[in-house]
Subunit: 249 residues, 6 copies
């Protein structure tokens, strides 16, 4: 069930049978010579929407702009500062809590979001902790590549050149879902360099075409489809377990 294609009454009915929701969250940022700028929010959206087809889970609209300050040296990147990102995640979460959602899973598509999302969770919980009350909800961050079995499959598919940014696995997923957007390029070097991430100009100096440690040329629609199918099933199990988890008094 996609929240944005439902009415408020339909969401009200859903809340009578479940208090859980998935929020796809990513980033809009450069993904090398062939990767789509939307890759990091498209991937969790694609996986969540796939999962929703075979399970009674509720998917929120996609949080599509994340923490990508280091990619601002490449045209098309849009970034929130961590402080803005934390405030926005807070307002999304508090809105969902108003309606009674108690288990909110953020399905994340961007490694650079992780720290800020976790900081956001602490910021939200701190309101309850300083007030000596229970927050009333549980927040979970889950990167799609950490869903059960997905990392193993990606390592099998791409034993070398997976890398950390503009990876063949994420590009394969968008190729599967959006075949009309497949781009090609010759990569030089075939596997991009690795190193630290700091400000945007240093990033561009270190990683001239935007890739980090990856060879996106290995991506294929078929591999992408396999990843999506597996990730969707794992997400359904993850949500089932999360929904069942009881919180001690």
């Amino acid at each position: 069930m996609l929240l944005h294609l439902s009415t408020w009454a339909e969401v009200g009915q859903y809340l009578e049978r479940s208090r859980s929701i998935v929020v796809p969250i990513g980033s809009n940022e450069q993904h090398g010579p062939t990767g789509l700028l939307g890759t990091d929010w498209l991937c969790p959206e694609i996986i969540a929407h796939e999962a929703e087809k075979s399970a009674d889970i509720l998917i929120a609209p996609t949080f599509n702009i994340g923490m990508a300050q280091h990619h601002l040296g490449f045209p098309g990147t849009i970034s929130l500062r961590p402080s803005t990102f934390i405030a926005a995640i807070g307002d999304w979460t508090r809105s969902l809590a108003v309606h009674g959602f108690e288990k909110i899973l953020f399905l994340n598509g961007h490694g650079g979001n992780v720290a800020s999302i976790e900081a956001a969770f602490s910021e939200i919980y701190a309101e309850a902790s300083f007030a000596k009350r229970r927050s009333g909800f549980a927040l979970k961050l889950c990167n799609w590549w950490d869903l059960e079995g997905v990392g193993e499959l990606a390592r099998e598919q791409f034993p070398t050149g997976h890398g950390a940014h503009a990876t063949p696995s994420e590009i394969a997923i968008t190729q599967w879902a959006l075949p009309e957007t497949i781009k090609t390029a010759s990569y030089a070097p075939q596997i991009a360099p690795s190193g630290p991430i700091r400000d945007a100009l240093e990033f561009r100096a270190r990683y001239p075409d935007g890739r980090m440690g990856s060879d996106p040329g290995q991506a294929s629609q078929e591999k992408g489809g396999a990843l999506v199918k597996l990730a969707a099933q794992s997400l359904i199990r993850e949500m089932d377990a999360f929904s069942r988890e009881s919180v001690p008094d």
Copy 2:
């Protein structure tokens, strides 16, 4: 051209021929018994993506959560506070400005966003004004129903019961674009009441099914299609004029 389906290099090439971009912006909030929660961000997205098919304009990802605090009494509504919304619009804008965009048009789908978007523009311009420098870009807010000819068509299509929220025109647009999501309900009263907007609980007390002054039952796919086609053409002309506008020294 859809930014999120492009590479950074493609956006770089676009910037050589144009410095303009459209950002669809809306809200995810209750829209009465039959309206989709996503209505307000789907409408500008639908219009912008339609326009993009017949003109060389660049469309940013959709800013899908807006200022909807008054709708929080209805399940599924997600709202940013004005302060969060202003911060986020600022970061989107500054990101685009980093890349050299000089004309940024926010195509808006939610009346409740207007004040906060304009306040955000002033907040951004103020940085330049306090620093005694030019900002280097022009921001424009355009509600899709204010695009040339669109309001007239809507008034013609819906001479009574158009109202202010969950209007038949916006619902018609989502019906045209997403026919599989069409919902039906009986409305009582046929035309919803009107009045002020304050906090969420007062809103729900005043407008029990979420509509304000509207009769969404008049919506049809056909009317929606006519609105979209007209709005898309007006948006193209609007962007053309905005792009050509010169700024005095």
Copy 3:
């Protein structure tokens, strides 16, 4: 009754008979070759203080600095950023709410304030909406030129050259109230240009003497007096209606 010339006990007694208050709010900014920098806060103050003479209404001190970032290119302009303005309106409102005021009308004298005042209202209401409680008060924004009959009179007095900034109507009001401050100048062109409002340097480039679309030379004390008398009576009726308005449970 002017709050700042009353004791706390007198305000306490007033609260036993009424829960309503008027807050004059404006801006301190350039108003062309002859307009006073204080025009936009003086006008609502003059009207509110005139109304207070013939009705039992309570007038707060004047909120005299508003959102005028675009006028910072002209000496004497003092502006708050929207974020500061929103925070300050919030603290004024919460202070009044502590005392039990339930109907707070901001009588505004500056068009550039409108978006930020409305955003401030939403920011304040959002506290209640996110907490699932009623705010306990109603906020209303009323521009003095939108008071019943006032716009009509101004259009009658100034059929051409009224414009949008440094208008003859607002200058007439200060001429009537503060005749010793009347200034004269020759205007070239007689009616100033119109156009968009962005950052301060662009504003000064577009509007070299500060006026927008106006011919302030048409102002007179007599016209100002007529506007004030009418506006004061309309304000009294507006406050009466606002005070009587009931809020649904």
Copy 4:
């Protein structure tokens, strides 16, 4: 010269002969059984406007709402939080700096403002200090009762029962300037208690009629007039010295 009754061109001319300005700043808060709620902003305004009559000094509009959280237990008090107050003082100051003001004296009428005003100054200077540049202006806080000779006169006029809040000296000043607002009451005890200042409810419990250590019954118009005349002359000398002060390279 009163800034709000001047045009931008007049302020521009003033800036050619002086870079100094006085900002009267106070608070709107309870002042005991007979003191006006506006006492703390009226006093510096009265003194500054008196000084302006006999010297070429420029007076900004009055900053009329300050840090008065501890008085919120009494009707009519309006307070900014320190964080809001600091932000607003920052925007006033940065606005004046845009125009080239280099010496900005805040003439303060409320002891409770002192810490927040000084914190605001540090917040503003810190922008320059962190950027390794000069701020370009000097800020000075001057309480009216600390102007040369004023404290001595007040101690002479009121050897006992001057106290710390709702003092006879400040009430005398408003009596002199606004004789139509003089109120009377019997005070019990004649001299109010003293003690610490914390939150608003504790304040009201400690100081039931709002006074702290004072006997306002000793105020008179005559004493107020003497205080104003002396303070105005001292302010003129203070501004003269401040204007002449050179800043080392």
Copy 5:
């Protein structure tokens, strides 16, 4: 009892017999040619830890970075902006209040902290005041040099050249506690100049070696020891009185 060397259970037991705590607070900033950068946080820490040896008082960890923007022109200075400082003091205080501490004394070692600490107190109290509830705790700021008898002793020890920054009294205290860190230098002039404090570059231009009005060459371990012993005893009495102070209903 030093909180950081205790377990949570030990603090829990302490709270059964006392609700009071001391927070040493200072700054890390240049202290002239011979003063330690840590002087301003070491002094209150030394005094508080000395006091703790002979009384059952609880000492929090030292808040070691304060408001020192004006010292940023000298290597090694670390400063918080007032806004950050206020936020941090708020979080410390709210944390202690969660545990039931009702009397929190900040023993301060830096004059430049005073305004921001007091503003922080008002910011914290304002939460209660705006919510019409009691805060539940009392905050007290106490500079170590204002502890009973300490100022008198310092004036006796250093009748001339005590000054305002890098004073012989504070340097003597670190000499007594940390004799291995004693530094020497020749001072020119022997007594440093005095004047205003603004931004960091102006500060360094006015006070080239960092001292203000002081001759630190008069410091000695012996004098430092006498100051510490006296201050520690005064602090114990101060805490005893503060702990006993009752708050009216």
Copy 6:
């Protein structure tokens, strides 16, 4: 070299030979029945001060309060919210950058700090990235248990019951450095439970004595000493490598 025991001139001289600095950073929070509240800031301080004895590295004062909202259910815990923590880390970093430090390593002692520290780094870098300039410095987060060889040693020392909070390794370190503070208790169960971390009340319900997965009874001074010696040497190598790292143009 300890910054707080140095003069500004000594730090100035250090900057001529090195642009690197270590900032010990931790948290003040409950550490189970026997762990000190200061454990998480004491450990990195102990290691850094040990390293400083045998290498020319500069150690900043210890950042002793971190993100510990989940521990607020236990007396003595003091926590910053992530937003405050991020602001404070920003001001520390910007202060150090003013002086020319180019390599700033935060030696961290609290796992709960990691997300907020990394978010803080991104917040700081974003200033440069949005301004299209280089930041001029590199920030590195290093948990002491991730220093080369340290994790291996801890796993060897504590093959079972190391856990995630109140671990025998961190307690061993404080036992070695502060033997007079060693506490004993009987643990039930011997190894504490594991699970998620959310708000403070849920945390206390899940982990009644404060430990997570650990058996601190295995700690010994001897093991602590071995950990400190190894960590100090690894830190020296880490700083050496970090100092030498060149940043591409």
